[in-house]
Protein backbone atom coordinates (compact mmCIF):
# COMPACT_ATOMS: atom_id res chain seq x y z
CA UNK A 1 0.00 0.00 0.00
CA UNK A 2 2.88 2.40 0.84
CA UNK A 3 4.18 2.15 -2.70
CA UNK A 4 0.70 2.67 -4.10
CA UNK A 5 0.18 5.86 -2.09
CA UNK A 6 3.56 7.07 -3.38
CA UNK A 7 2.42 6.57 -6.95
CA UNK A 8 -0.83 8.39 -6.25
CA UNK A 9 1.07 11.33 -4.76
CA UNK A 10 3.14 11.54 -7.93
CA UNK A 11 -0.05 11.57 -9.96
CA UNK A 12 -1.39 14.41 -7.88
CA UNK A 13 1.77 16.43 -8.41
CA UNK A 14 1.34 15.87 -12.16
CA UNK A 15 -2.20 17.11 -11.99
CA UNK A 16 -1.04 20.34 -10.38
CA UNK A 17 1.11 20.78 -13.48
CA UNK A 18 -1.95 20.13 -15.62
CA UNK A 19 -3.89 22.79 -13.75
CA UNK A 20 -1.16 25.32 -14.50
CA UNK A 21 -1.16 24.24 -18.14
CA UNK A 22 -4.93 24.46 -18.40
CA UNK A 23 -4.79 28.12 -17.41
CA UNK A 24 -2.80 28.96 -20.54
CA UNK A 25 -4.92 30.51 -23.25
CA UNK A 26 -5.69 28.03 -26.01
CA UNK A 27 -3.64 28.91 -29.07
CA UNK A 28 -4.57 27.33 -32.34
CA UNK A 29 -5.87 28.10 -35.80
CA UNK A 30 -8.99 30.27 -35.72
CA UNK A 31 -11.91 27.88 -35.72
CA UNK A 32 -15.38 28.63 -36.96
CA UNK A 33 -18.18 28.47 -34.45
CA UNK A 34 -19.42 25.06 -35.55
CA UNK A 35 -16.20 23.09 -36.05
CA UNK A 36 -14.13 24.38 -33.17
CA UNK A 37 -12.32 21.66 -31.29
CA UNK A 38 -11.33 22.07 -27.73
CA UNK A 39 -7.59 21.73 -27.20
CA UNK A 40 -7.88 21.77 -23.42
CA UNK A 41 -10.37 18.92 -23.50
CA UNK A 42 -8.12 16.93 -25.84
CA UNK A 43 -5.17 17.42 -23.51
CA UNK A 44 -7.32 16.48 -20.60
CA UNK A 45 -8.51 13.25 -22.24
CA UNK A 46 -4.91 12.22 -22.88
CA UNK A 47 -4.06 13.02 -19.32
CA UNK A 48 -6.97 11.05 -17.97
CA UNK A 49 -5.81 7.96 -19.89
CA UNK A 50 -2.46 8.17 -18.11
CA UNK A 51 -4.31 8.37 -14.81
CA UNK A 52 -6.70 5.45 -15.39
CA UNK A 53 -4.36 3.15 -13.48
CA UNK A 54 -3.71 5.42 -10.53
CA UNK A 55 -7.00 7.08 -9.74
CA UNK A 56 -6.42 9.75 -7.06
CA UNK A 57 -10.00 9.15 -5.84
CA UNK A 58 -8.69 6.00 -4.12
CA UNK A 59 -6.85 8.07 -1.54
CA UNK A 60 -10.11 9.67 -0.50
CA UNK A 61 -11.92 6.34 -0.54
CA UNK A 62 -9.31 4.99 1.89
CA UNK A 63 -9.85 7.94 4.22
CA UNK A 64 -13.63 7.54 3.86
CA UNK A 65 -13.41 3.86 4.79
CA UNK A 66 -11.71 4.72 8.08
CA UNK A 67 -14.38 7.30 8.84
CA UNK A 68 -17.21 4.92 7.90
CA UNK A 69 -15.96 2.14 10.16
CA UNK A 70 -14.78 4.12 13.19
CA UNK A 71 -16.95 4.67 16.29
CA UNK A 72 -17.28 8.44 16.36
CA UNK A 73 -19.31 11.40 17.52
CA UNK A 74 -21.08 12.08 20.83
CA UNK A 75 -22.94 8.73 20.54
CA UNK A 76 -19.73 6.83 19.78
CA UNK A 77 -21.17 4.56 17.09
CA UNK A 78 -19.97 3.85 13.56
CA UNK A 79 -21.87 4.58 10.37
CA UNK A 80 -21.18 0.98 9.32
CA UNK A 81 -23.35 -0.27 12.19
CA UNK A 82 -26.09 2.40 12.03
CA UNK A 83 -26.44 4.01 8.61
CA UNK A 84 -28.95 2.72 6.05
CA UNK A 85 -28.32 4.14 2.58
CA UNK A 86 -31.43 2.48 1.21
CA UNK A 87 -30.36 -1.16 0.91
CA UNK A 88 -30.11 -1.96 4.63
CA UNK A 89 -27.84 -0.86 7.48
CA UNK A 90 -24.19 -0.84 6.43
CA UNK A 91 -24.95 -2.16 2.92
CA UNK A 92 -22.87 -0.24 0.41
CA UNK A 93 -22.73 -2.21 -2.81
CA UNK A 94 -24.89 -0.44 -5.40
CA UNK A 95 -26.29 2.08 -2.91
CA UNK A 96 -24.84 5.15 -4.65
CA UNK A 97 -26.32 4.37 -8.08
CA UNK A 98 -29.75 3.99 -6.46
CA UNK A 99 -29.78 7.44 -4.85
CA UNK A 100 -31.61 9.84 -4.44
CA UNK A 101 -34.40 7.69 -2.96
CA UNK A 102 -37.22 7.93 -0.40
CA UNK A 103 -36.39 7.18 3.25
CA UNK A 104 -39.34 6.42 5.51
CA UNK A 105 -37.40 7.24 8.72
CA UNK A 106 -36.94 10.85 7.54
CA UNK A 107 -40.08 10.98 5.38
CA UNK A 108 -37.93 12.57 2.70
CA UNK A 109 -36.10 11.84 -0.53
CA UNK A 110 -32.35 12.13 0.01
CA UNK A 111 -29.24 12.03 -2.16
CA UNK A 112 -26.05 10.28 -1.04
CA UNK A 113 -24.30 13.19 0.66
CA UNK A 114 -27.50 14.38 2.32
CA UNK A 115 -28.21 10.86 3.61
CA UNK A 116 -24.71 10.41 5.04
CA UNK A 117 -24.99 13.82 6.73
CA UNK A 118 -28.36 12.73 8.10
CA UNK A 119 -26.80 9.56 9.57
CA UNK A 120 -23.94 11.53 11.13
CA UNK A 121 -26.42 13.82 12.86
CA UNK A 122 -29.11 11.31 13.75
CA UNK A 123 -26.99 8.31 14.77
CA UNK A 124 -23.57 9.68 15.67
CA UNK A 125 -24.88 12.88 17.24
CA UNK A 126 -22.85 15.40 15.25
CA UNK A 127 -24.32 18.91 14.90
CA UNK A 128 -25.78 19.75 11.49
CA UNK A 129 -24.39 23.31 11.67
CA UNK A 130 -20.87 21.95 12.17
CA UNK A 131 -21.12 19.81 9.04
CA UNK A 132 -22.04 22.93 7.07
CA UNK A 133 -19.21 25.10 8.44
CA UNK A 134 -16.78 24.28 5.66
CA UNK A 135 -18.45 21.72 3.36
CA UNK A 136 -16.15 22.10 0.32
CA UNK A 137 -12.55 21.06 -0.26
CA UNK A 138 -9.82 23.67 -0.61
CA UNK A 139 -6.05 23.37 -0.59
CA UNK A 140 -5.12 20.43 1.61
CA UNK A 141 -8.47 20.44 3.40
CA UNK A 142 -11.00 17.74 2.53
CA UNK A 143 -14.27 17.64 4.50
CA UNK A 144 -15.12 14.28 6.09
CA UNK A 145 -18.36 14.16 4.11
CA UNK A 146 -16.43 14.37 0.84
CA UNK A 147 -14.26 11.36 1.76
CA UNK A 148 -17.29 9.45 3.04
CA UNK A 149 -19.30 10.16 -0.11
CA UNK A 150 -16.35 9.10 -2.26
CA UNK A 151 -16.01 5.86 -0.28
CA UNK A 152 -19.73 5.09 -0.64
CA UNK A 153 -19.65 5.91 -4.37
CA UNK A 154 -16.66 3.59 -4.86
CA UNK A 155 -18.91 0.64 -4.02
CA UNK A 156 -20.99 1.30 -7.13
CA UNK A 157 -18.08 1.28 -9.59
CA UNK A 158 -19.11 -0.11 -12.98
CA UNK A 159 -22.74 -0.52 -11.89
CA UNK A 160 -25.76 0.87 -13.72
CA UNK A 161 -27.74 3.83 -12.45
CA UNK A 162 -31.06 2.51 -11.14
CA UNK A 163 -32.57 5.41 -9.20
CA UNK A 164 -36.00 4.31 -7.98
CA UNK A 165 -39.13 6.15 -9.17
CA UNK A 166 -41.75 4.06 -7.39
CA UNK A 167 -42.65 6.01 -4.28
CA UNK A 168 -44.90 9.04 -4.99
CA UNK A 169 -42.36 11.33 -3.29
CA UNK A 170 -39.61 10.04 -5.59
CA UNK A 171 -41.69 10.89 -8.65
CA UNK A 172 -42.62 14.25 -7.18
CA UNK A 173 -38.98 15.06 -6.37
CA UNK A 174 -37.99 14.36 -9.97
CA UNK A 175 -40.72 16.70 -11.28
CA UNK A 176 -39.75 19.44 -8.83
CA UNK A 177 -36.12 19.06 -9.92
CA UNK A 178 -37.20 19.49 -13.52
CA UNK A 179 -38.94 22.75 -12.59
CA UNK A 180 -35.96 24.07 -10.63
CA UNK A 181 -33.79 23.23 -13.63
CA UNK A 182 -35.94 25.52 -15.81
CA UNK A 183 -36.37 28.28 -13.19
CA UNK A 184 -34.85 31.49 -14.52
CA UNK A 185 -34.32 34.37 -12.12
CA UNK A 186 -31.68 36.77 -10.81
CA UNK A 187 -29.94 39.75 -12.41
CA UNK A 188 -28.75 37.76 -15.44
CA UNK A 189 -32.00 35.83 -16.04
CA UNK A 190 -30.18 32.46 -15.96
CA UNK A 191 -31.59 29.01 -15.25
CA UNK A 192 -29.69 25.72 -15.38
CA UNK A 193 -31.37 25.27 -18.72
CA UNK A 194 -29.76 28.43 -20.17
CA UNK A 195 -26.42 26.65 -20.09
CA UNK A 196 -27.39 22.96 -19.99
CA UNK A 197 -30.61 22.77 -22.02
CA UNK A 198 -29.33 22.40 -25.59
CA UNK A 199 -26.92 20.23 -27.53
CA UNK A 200 -23.38 21.26 -28.33
CA UNK A 201 -23.13 24.53 -26.43
CA UNK A 202 -19.98 25.92 -24.87
CA UNK A 203 -19.14 28.60 -22.34
CA UNK A 204 -15.72 29.78 -23.54
CA UNK A 205 -14.03 26.43 -24.29
CA UNK A 206 -15.95 24.37 -21.74
CA UNK A 207 -18.45 22.00 -23.28
CA UNK A 208 -21.81 22.07 -21.54
CA UNK A 209 -23.63 18.76 -21.24
CA UNK A 210 -27.35 18.89 -22.09
CA UNK A 211 -28.71 17.51 -18.84
CA UNK A 212 -32.20 16.90 -20.22
CA UNK A 213 -30.90 14.04 -22.39
CA UNK A 214 -29.72 10.71 -21.04
CA UNK A 215 -26.22 11.00 -22.60
CA UNK A 216 -25.77 14.53 -21.27
CA UNK A 217 -27.07 13.58 -17.84
CA UNK A 218 -24.66 10.64 -17.73
CA UNK A 219 -21.77 12.96 -18.51
CA UNK A 220 -22.86 15.21 -15.68
CA UNK A 221 -23.09 12.52 -12.99
CA UNK A 222 -20.22 10.44 -14.37
CA UNK A 223 -16.90 10.72 -12.60
CA UNK A 224 -18.29 12.47 -9.52
CA UNK A 225 -17.21 12.62 -6.81
CA UNK A 226 -14.27 13.85 -8.83
CA UNK A 227 -10.68 14.79 -8.28
CA UNK A 228 -10.45 18.16 -9.94
CA UNK A 229 -7.34 18.93 -11.97
CA UNK A 230 -8.00 22.62 -11.60
CA UNK A 231 -7.21 23.20 -7.93
CA UNK A 232 -6.14 19.62 -7.17
CA UNK A 233 -8.97 18.79 -4.75
CA UNK A 234 -11.74 16.22 -4.41
CA UNK A 235 -15.28 17.52 -4.93
CA UNK A 236 -18.76 16.04 -4.84
CA UNK A 237 -21.80 17.11 -6.86
CA UNK A 238 -22.81 19.34 -3.93
CA UNK A 239 -19.84 21.53 -4.81
CA UNK A 240 -20.52 21.42 -8.57
CA UNK A 241 -24.10 22.60 -8.10
CA UNK A 242 -22.99 25.27 -5.64
CA UNK A 243 -20.53 26.63 -8.19
CA UNK A 244 -23.09 26.55 -11.01
CA UNK A 245 -25.51 28.57 -8.86
CA UNK A 246 -22.70 31.08 -8.36
CA UNK A 247 -22.26 31.34 -12.15
CA UNK A 248 -26.02 31.62 -12.43
CA UNK A 249 -25.71 34.78 -10.26
CA UNK A 250 -28.13 33.24 -7.75
CA UNK A 251 -27.84 33.49 -3.98
CA UNK A 252 -26.20 30.46 -2.36
CA UNK A 253 -28.09 27.19 -1.85
CA UNK A 254 -28.04 25.75 1.67
CA UNK A 255 -25.74 22.74 1.99
CA UNK A 256 -27.45 19.38 1.27
CA UNK A 257 -30.81 21.11 0.85
CA UNK A 258 -33.89 19.49 -0.73
CA UNK A 259 -33.63 21.79 -3.77
CA UNK A 260 -30.28 20.17 -4.56
CA UNK A 261 -31.67 16.68 -3.97
CA UNK A 262 -34.41 17.52 -6.47
CA UNK A 263 -31.87 18.63 -9.09
CA UNK A 264 -29.78 15.51 -8.45
CA UNK A 265 -32.89 13.37 -8.78
CA UNK A 266 -33.68 15.01 -12.15
CA UNK A 267 -30.15 14.47 -13.51
CA UNK A 268 -29.56 10.99 -12.13
CA UNK A 269 -32.93 9.55 -13.14
CA UNK A 270 -32.22 10.93 -16.63
CA UNK A 271 -29.00 8.87 -16.57
CA UNK A 272 -30.75 5.67 -15.42
CA UNK A 273 -29.76 2.44 -17.14
CA UNK A 274 -26.24 3.60 -17.97
CA UNK A 275 -23.03 2.60 -16.27
CA UNK A 276 -21.45 4.63 -13.48
CA UNK A 277 -17.67 4.44 -13.77
CA UNK A 278 -17.02 5.36 -10.17
CA UNK A 279 -15.34 8.30 -8.43
CA UNK A 280 -12.93 9.75 -10.95
CA UNK A 281 -11.21 12.76 -12.36
CA UNK A 282 -12.67 16.06 -13.49
CA UNK A 283 -10.88 18.91 -15.16
Amino acid sequence: MKKRIGALMAVMAMSAAFAAHAQQPVKKAAPNAAGATDATTADFEKFRDVLEEDNPAELFEARGEELWKAKRGPHNVSLAETCDLGLGVGKLKGAYVQLPRYFADADAVMDAERRIAYCMVKHQGFKAEDLAKKPFSSGNYTPELVSLTTYVAGHSRKMKFAVPQKHPKEKETYQIGKEIFAYRAGPWDFSCSTCHGQEGMRIRTQNLPNLSTSEGALRAVQGWPGYRMTGGVMHTLQWRLNDCFRQQRFPEPNYVSPSLTALLSYMTVNANGQMYKGPGIKR
Binding site: P25, V26, K27, K28, A30, P31, N32, A33, A36, A106, D107, R114, A117, Y118, V121, A128, E129, L131, A132, K133, K134, E172, Q175, I176, K178, E179, I180, A182, Y183, R184, A185, G186, P187, W188, D189, F190, S191, T194, C195, M201, R202, I203, R204, T205, Q206, R246, Q247, R249, F250, P251, E252, P253, N254, Y255, V256, S257, P258, S259, L260, A262
Partner: protein, 203 residues
Protein backbone atom coordinates in the same frame (compact mmCIF):
# COMPACT_ATOMS: atom_id res chain seq x y z
CA UNK B 1 -14.84 33.01 8.00
CA UNK B 2 -18.15 32.63 6.29
CA UNK B 3 -20.37 29.78 7.43
CA UNK B 4 -22.51 27.84 5.02
CA UNK B 5 -26.11 27.24 5.89
CA UNK B 6 -27.65 23.80 6.03
CA UNK B 7 -31.17 22.49 5.54
CA UNK B 8 -30.86 18.88 6.52
CA UNK B 9 -34.10 18.37 8.40
CA UNK B 10 -36.16 20.57 6.17
CA UNK B 11 -39.84 20.97 6.45
CA UNK B 12 -40.22 17.46 5.05
CA UNK B 13 -43.43 18.66 3.63
CA UNK B 14 -43.89 22.23 2.59
CA UNK B 15 -47.19 20.96 1.29
CA UNK B 16 -48.49 20.54 4.80
CA UNK B 17 -47.92 24.24 5.46
CA UNK B 18 -50.22 25.09 2.60
CA UNK B 19 -47.59 26.89 0.50
CA UNK B 20 -48.04 24.73 -2.57
CA UNK B 21 -50.45 22.10 -3.77
CA UNK B 22 -49.34 18.57 -4.59
CA UNK B 23 -49.05 18.13 -8.34
CA UNK B 24 -48.37 21.82 -9.02
CA UNK B 25 -44.69 21.14 -9.41
CA UNK B 26 -43.73 24.68 -10.38
CA UNK B 27 -45.34 26.08 -7.22
CA UNK B 28 -43.68 23.35 -5.17
CA UNK B 29 -40.31 24.13 -6.77
CA UNK B 30 -40.66 27.82 -5.96
CA UNK B 31 -41.64 27.04 -2.36
CA UNK B 32 -38.51 24.88 -2.00
CA UNK B 33 -36.23 27.49 -3.57
CA UNK B 34 -37.56 30.17 -1.19
CA UNK B 35 -36.70 27.89 1.67
CA UNK B 36 -33.26 26.74 0.55
CA UNK B 37 -31.29 29.82 -0.55
CA UNK B 38 -29.52 32.46 1.51
CA UNK B 39 -27.72 35.75 0.88
CA UNK B 40 -24.03 35.48 0.19
CA UNK B 41 -22.11 38.73 -0.38
CA UNK B 42 -23.71 40.78 -3.15
CA UNK B 43 -25.91 37.82 -4.19
CA UNK B 44 -28.86 38.63 -1.95
CA UNK B 45 -31.64 36.14 -1.22
CA UNK B 46 -34.26 38.30 -2.97
CA UNK B 47 -32.66 37.36 -6.31
CA UNK B 48 -34.66 34.15 -6.34
CA UNK B 49 -37.90 36.05 -7.04
CA UNK B 50 -38.90 36.17 -10.71
CA UNK B 51 -39.72 39.48 -12.31
CA UNK B 52 -42.65 39.66 -14.77
CA UNK B 53 -40.62 38.75 -17.85
CA UNK B 54 -38.87 35.84 -16.15
CA UNK B 55 -42.15 34.51 -14.75
CA UNK B 56 -43.95 34.61 -18.10
CA UNK B 57 -41.06 32.88 -19.87
CA UNK B 58 -40.65 30.29 -17.10
CA UNK B 59 -44.33 29.59 -16.95
CA UNK B 60 -44.76 29.17 -20.70
CA UNK B 61 -41.47 27.29 -21.38
CA UNK B 62 -40.27 30.31 -23.38
CA UNK B 63 -43.35 30.40 -25.59
CA UNK B 64 -45.57 33.13 -24.15
CA UNK B 65 -48.85 33.94 -25.90
CA UNK B 66 -48.12 36.51 -28.64
CA UNK B 67 -50.27 39.28 -27.16
CA UNK B 68 -48.62 39.05 -23.74
CA UNK B 69 -45.17 38.85 -25.29
CA UNK B 70 -45.77 41.95 -27.41
CA UNK B 71 -47.02 43.91 -24.41
CA UNK B 72 -44.13 42.93 -22.12
CA UNK B 73 -41.58 43.44 -24.86
CA UNK B 74 -42.86 46.97 -25.41
CA UNK B 75 -42.53 47.70 -21.68
CA UNK B 76 -38.95 46.49 -21.78
CA UNK B 77 -38.21 48.57 -24.88
CA UNK B 78 -39.79 51.72 -23.45
CA UNK B 79 -37.63 51.40 -20.33
CA UNK B 80 -34.35 51.47 -22.27
CA UNK B 81 -32.10 54.40 -21.27
CA UNK B 82 -30.58 55.64 -24.50
CA UNK B 83 -27.14 57.32 -24.44
CA UNK B 84 -27.47 60.75 -22.86
CA UNK B 85 -25.49 62.51 -25.63
CA UNK B 86 -27.21 60.66 -28.48
CA UNK B 87 -23.94 58.95 -29.51
CA UNK B 88 -24.12 55.13 -29.63
CA UNK B 89 -20.49 54.27 -30.32
CA UNK B 90 -17.44 54.59 -28.02
CA UNK B 91 -13.97 53.07 -28.07
CA UNK B 92 -13.71 49.52 -29.47
CA UNK B 93 -10.34 48.85 -27.77
CA UNK B 94 -11.91 49.29 -24.38
CA UNK B 95 -14.96 47.35 -25.68
CA UNK B 96 -12.74 44.33 -26.40
CA UNK B 97 -11.60 44.28 -22.73
CA UNK B 98 -15.17 44.52 -21.46
CA UNK B 99 -16.23 41.70 -23.81
CA UNK B 100 -13.36 39.54 -22.45
CA UNK B 101 -14.19 40.06 -18.78
CA UNK B 102 -16.68 37.78 -17.11
CA UNK B 103 -16.39 39.53 -13.79
CA UNK B 104 -19.29 40.68 -11.71
CA UNK B 105 -22.71 40.04 -10.16
CA UNK B 106 -21.78 36.68 -8.56
CA UNK B 107 -21.25 36.25 -4.82
CA UNK B 108 -17.46 36.22 -5.13
CA UNK B 109 -17.34 39.85 -6.35
CA UNK B 110 -17.26 43.03 -4.26
CA UNK B 111 -20.09 45.58 -4.63
CA UNK B 112 -17.71 48.15 -6.19
CA UNK B 113 -16.29 45.68 -8.75
CA UNK B 114 -15.86 46.88 -12.34
CA UNK B 115 -18.12 44.45 -14.18
CA UNK B 116 -17.48 42.80 -17.52
CA UNK B 117 -19.98 41.73 -20.17
CA UNK B 118 -19.05 38.01 -20.40
CA UNK B 119 -19.65 38.43 -24.14
CA UNK B 120 -17.00 35.89 -25.19
CA UNK B 121 -18.58 33.34 -22.83
CA UNK B 122 -21.39 33.07 -25.37
CA UNK B 123 -20.31 34.73 -28.65
CA UNK B 124 -17.56 34.54 -31.22
CA UNK B 125 -16.55 38.21 -31.69
CA UNK B 126 -12.99 39.27 -32.54
CA UNK B 127 -10.83 37.11 -34.88
CA UNK B 128 -7.99 36.68 -32.35
CA UNK B 129 -10.00 35.18 -29.52
CA UNK B 130 -10.53 31.46 -30.16
CA UNK B 131 -11.80 30.59 -26.67
CA UNK B 132 -15.36 31.73 -27.25
CA UNK B 133 -18.64 30.11 -26.28
CA UNK B 134 -21.55 29.17 -28.52
CA UNK B 135 -24.65 29.93 -26.44
CA UNK B 136 -25.28 32.98 -28.67
CA UNK B 137 -24.74 33.53 -32.43
CA UNK B 138 -21.37 34.54 -33.88
CA UNK B 139 -20.88 38.31 -33.98
CA UNK B 140 -17.72 38.17 -36.08
CA UNK B 141 -17.92 40.77 -38.91
CA UNK B 142 -21.18 42.03 -37.44
CA UNK B 143 -21.01 45.55 -38.95
CA UNK B 144 -19.67 44.33 -42.28
CA UNK B 145 -22.58 41.93 -42.65
CA UNK B 146 -25.38 43.94 -41.06
CA UNK B 147 -24.44 47.56 -41.84
CA UNK B 148 -23.14 50.53 -39.86
CA UNK B 149 -26.12 52.89 -40.01
CA UNK B 150 -27.92 54.57 -37.12
CA UNK B 151 -30.73 51.99 -37.07
CA UNK B 152 -28.18 49.22 -36.59
CA UNK B 153 -26.39 51.25 -33.90
CA UNK B 154 -29.68 51.68 -32.10
CA UNK B 155 -30.47 47.97 -32.40
CA UNK B 156 -27.08 46.90 -31.00
CA UNK B 157 -27.39 49.40 -28.15
CA UNK B 158 -30.85 48.04 -27.29
CA UNK B 159 -29.64 44.44 -27.53
CA UNK B 160 -26.83 45.01 -25.05
CA UNK B 161 -28.89 47.25 -22.77
CA UNK B 162 -31.86 44.88 -22.73
CA UNK B 163 -31.89 41.79 -24.96
CA UNK B 164 -35.48 41.10 -23.85
CA UNK B 165 -36.71 44.32 -25.48
CA UNK B 166 -36.52 42.65 -28.91
CA UNK B 167 -36.77 38.97 -27.94
CA UNK B 168 -38.71 38.42 -24.74
CA UNK B 169 -37.30 35.05 -23.66
CA UNK B 170 -33.76 35.59 -25.00
CA UNK B 171 -31.00 33.65 -23.21
CA UNK B 172 -28.89 36.82 -23.16
CA UNK B 173 -28.71 38.82 -19.90
CA UNK B 174 -30.08 42.38 -19.79
CA UNK B 175 -26.73 44.09 -19.27
CA UNK B 176 -27.86 47.70 -18.89
CA UNK B 177 -31.24 47.06 -17.34
CA UNK B 178 -29.70 44.86 -14.62
CA UNK B 179 -27.14 47.53 -13.74
CA UNK B 180 -24.25 45.31 -14.82
CA UNK B 181 -22.77 47.67 -17.44
CA UNK B 182 -22.56 51.47 -17.52
CA UNK B 183 -23.55 53.70 -20.43
CA UNK B 184 -19.90 54.15 -21.38
CA UNK B 185 -19.26 50.41 -21.34
CA UNK B 186 -22.23 49.75 -23.61
CA UNK B 187 -20.96 52.40 -26.06
CA UNK B 188 -17.54 50.75 -26.10
CA UNK B 189 -19.09 47.34 -26.79
CA UNK B 190 -21.32 48.75 -29.53
CA UNK B 191 -18.16 50.20 -31.12
CA UNK B 192 -16.47 46.80 -30.98
CA UNK B 193 -19.29 45.44 -33.17
CA UNK B 194 -19.94 48.51 -35.34
CA UNK B 195 -16.74 50.53 -35.75
CA UNK B 196 -15.46 49.77 -39.28
CA UNK B 197 -11.91 49.89 -37.86
CA UNK B 198 -12.52 47.35 -35.13
CA UNK B 199 -10.86 43.96 -35.82
CA UNK B 200 -14.38 42.47 -35.79
CA UNK B 201 -15.02 44.17 -39.14
CA UNK B 202 -11.53 44.89 -40.45
CA UNK B 203 -9.89 41.46 -40.34
Amino acid sequence: MKTHKITLFCAASLLATGIAHAGDYRAQAIALIKHDFHTRGIATADRIYEDGVQAVCNYSSDKPPATIAARLQKDQFDAIKWPSDGKYLGDWKSGEKIAQSGRGMAWNYKPNNVNGGSCYNCHQIGPKETAFGTVGPSLYQFGKLRGYGEDMQKYVWSKIYNAKATNLCSAMPRMGYSGTLTEKQIKDLAALLLDPNSPVNKE
